[in-house]
């Protein structure tokens, strides 16, 4: 028996879909077990019928609905609601769907501020009125999926590792939806923590961290946060390395920025990080700014326009 799957991307970049494709040969195995009934990136099923003559968006019934991206405009909302209606189970795929993701950085601004800038850059012939004909109207901000529809399974990540996309899909098909454990990136990070030190200031990532030799394994490198670089590992959900375990950015000797969202679904990465730094007597004024600590989780009203 095959399971029917519908997939949609809303306020998204397609990275989550590419992660799905990056399963490689496992994708061919998955295709033996699932029947895609709707997936715009790979398949020509249309919203308004194949000849475009229907009035409302229609998505076929499915056992599993996968949605990437947050909800930014009225069409996203209509699609999300139709997916919820037609699918027995909804998976929020990727951090945009679970927490707003990078596009929710726009939540620090009003729509007019965003439009004013976009349509007045130095190369733009500024229009008298902003485009609207045949276009979906923007909502007041970017929403995570669960602010508008019920979500059954959360699979954060920017993008989620293809190993996790595979285990989630395989798990669902066998009736055991896989969820990521409530571990932080630090819990999964093999770098060496010495635990003591008199770090007072954080440095911006403008130089290479210290390591002893080009081929020194990551588990011999001194923790980047303890080296004085801002690293969001303590307040970010772990698992980004997939089956190979190591956090992906750390393995490139680059500090974490929080792309799996908060460790607990309703955590606040910015506040949790500032608290963690303050309780370790690290001067939070040494950070050049703090909005971007919420860069992956600006939905759920975590970021709002300044009054």
């Amino acid at each position: 028996m095959t399971a029917k799957v519908a997939e949609e991307w809303l306020n998204a970049c397609s990275g989550c879909e590419i992660s799905l494709v990056d399963m490689g040969e496992r994708l061919l195995d998955v295709l033996q077990l699932v029947e895609f009934v709707h997936i715009p990136v790979l398949m020509d099923h249309k919203y308004y019928g194949q000849l475009g003559d229907k009035k409302h968006i229609h998505i076929p019934e499915a056992d599993v609905g996968i949605i990437s991206g947050g909800i930014r405009n009225k069409e996203h909302l209509e699609i999300a609601e139709e997916m919820r209606k037609q699918c027995k189970l909804i998976i929020a795929l990727g951090t945009c769907a679970t927490h707003g993701g990078i596009p929710a950085l726009a939540n620090s601004y009003t729509n007019n501020q965003v439009l004013d800038r976009y349509y007045s850059t130095e190369t733009t012939d500024k229009p008298d009125t902003y485009p609207s004909e045949g276009l979906p109207e923007l909502l007041d901000c970017t929403y995570a999926l669960d602010e508008k529809i019920k979500v059954d399974v959360y699979l954060p990540g920017c993008p989620p590792h293809s190993d996790q996309v595979f285990s989630a899909l395989a798990g669902l098909l066998t009736g055991n939806p896989a969820v990521l454990p409530n571990k932080s990136v630090c819990d999964t990070c093999p770098t060496v923590r010495k635990g003591k030190g008199d770090l007072k200031q954080l440095r911006r990532f403008l130089q290479s961290p210290h390591y002893n030799a080009p081929n020194e394994p990551i588990d011999k490198m001194h923790c980047l946060l303890e080296q004085g670089f801002l690293c969001m590992g303590p307040v970010t959900k772990g698992g980004c390395g997939g089956d190979s375990i190591h956090p992906r950015c750390i393995s490139a000797r680059v500090p974490c920025r929080g792309c799996y969202g908060p460790v607990k679904h309703d955590g606040n990465q910015m506040l949790d990080m500032l608290n963690a730094l303050a309780s370790n007597q690290i001067d939070i004024k040494s950070l050049p700014e703090t909005t971007s600590l919420s860069r992956f989780s600006g939905a759920h009203h975590n970021l709002r326009p300044k009054k």
Partner: protein
Amino acid sequence: MAQVINIAPITRIEGHAQIAIKLDDDGNVADSKVHFQSLRGFEKFVEGKPAEEIPRIVNRICGICPWHHHLASNKAVDKCFGATPPPAGHKLRELMQTIAHAEDKLLHFFFLASADFVIGPDSDYKVRNVIGVAQANPELATKVVKTRQMTKMILEKFAGKAIHPVAGVVGGFAKPMVEEDRKEILAKMEEVLEFALFTINFAKTEVFPKYLDTVKTLGVITTGFLGTVDDQGALNLYDGKLRMMKPDGTFTDFSVDNYADYLGEHVEPYSYGKMPYAKFWNEGFSLDLDKPKGVYRSNCLARINVADKMATPLAQAELEEFRKLFGRPAQATLLYHWARLIEEVYACEHAIELLKDTSITDTNIRAKVEPKAGRGVGCVEAPRGTLIHDYSTDENGLITRANMIVGTTHNLGPINMSVNQAARLLIQKGKVDEGILNKIEMSVRAYDP
């Protein structure tokens, strides 16, 4: 009675768009519009953020070409801060970008486009996709899926993240390449080159000949072209000067630092996406099929049109064969597919060149950088076209102003023209079927938007 036909969403493309075709009382095409529906506002929300963080933010503009945003952004921030990456830092960036190109083109040709040719433009939509292609050709599908994933995983294994990368850093690259990595990646890229050659030969013998009539007619428009070339006039994906070619083949070279003197962006009421045009031609902007104004195209067909030659031997031989058949500049829109496979060969050959030079393992990969006030324009050729990031910073190195012109954006005007042309060609006296609507979409898919 007047009628509007909606193709929504346009499928097997990477972005969000819909088509509306208006028919007149006789059922002929009166007008068509392509609605580009995404608006996220990166230009606004990068303001106030530390410039060195931007390459890790703007890569989210596109999950298919994040390396290119990441690197154009790094180049812009380098310039803002007056940083000069050491040679190996640039080489590692370029290698990652070139391998990302090689992977991207396989993705587009096999996963998104091939169904129209292998299964057929008029076939049932339920099998007219990569799943149908895999079922019809399981052996080929396995080879494609394996090779593409191997290419992609080179990026993940070496640089940590393949999608939304982090390894490009202001001042250079985050980690050096050791000899073992170099040998391993070189061996893999030699395998990818072999597959690239198989693919272009497969396309030239099994695919394109069957569709030559379609290629010569569907979505055909006449425009200028934009791309990047090196000092010798050879196609370059990572760096060089911009070249804008007019439809008659004459061209102007300019530095990307001055892009705003040459390019403008027009706004149409039916598209959130803006439409760049060649401002310096001083003819304004029009998408009129017979008399377009200011319209040029980007992406692979544009790049191989503006280039005098390809810098690698196998790709050069392919270009010569292509030019003998279609001239310079080649205008037929479906030739994007052919041009893409020529670039695929180039990307593989060039990655191999970079890897054969052992200086890529130099451990001096990153200059130490101080934040400061400045302005920087960074540019690379993304798979979908010339990608420009332009930032200003204040004395703390925070972004005060950003402008971005993204690869696909250059083609939004031309896509409208190709759809209009295809609709007029195929829809007559109100007769519309699924095959016709899919063929109109094929004129969009060629641009890989």
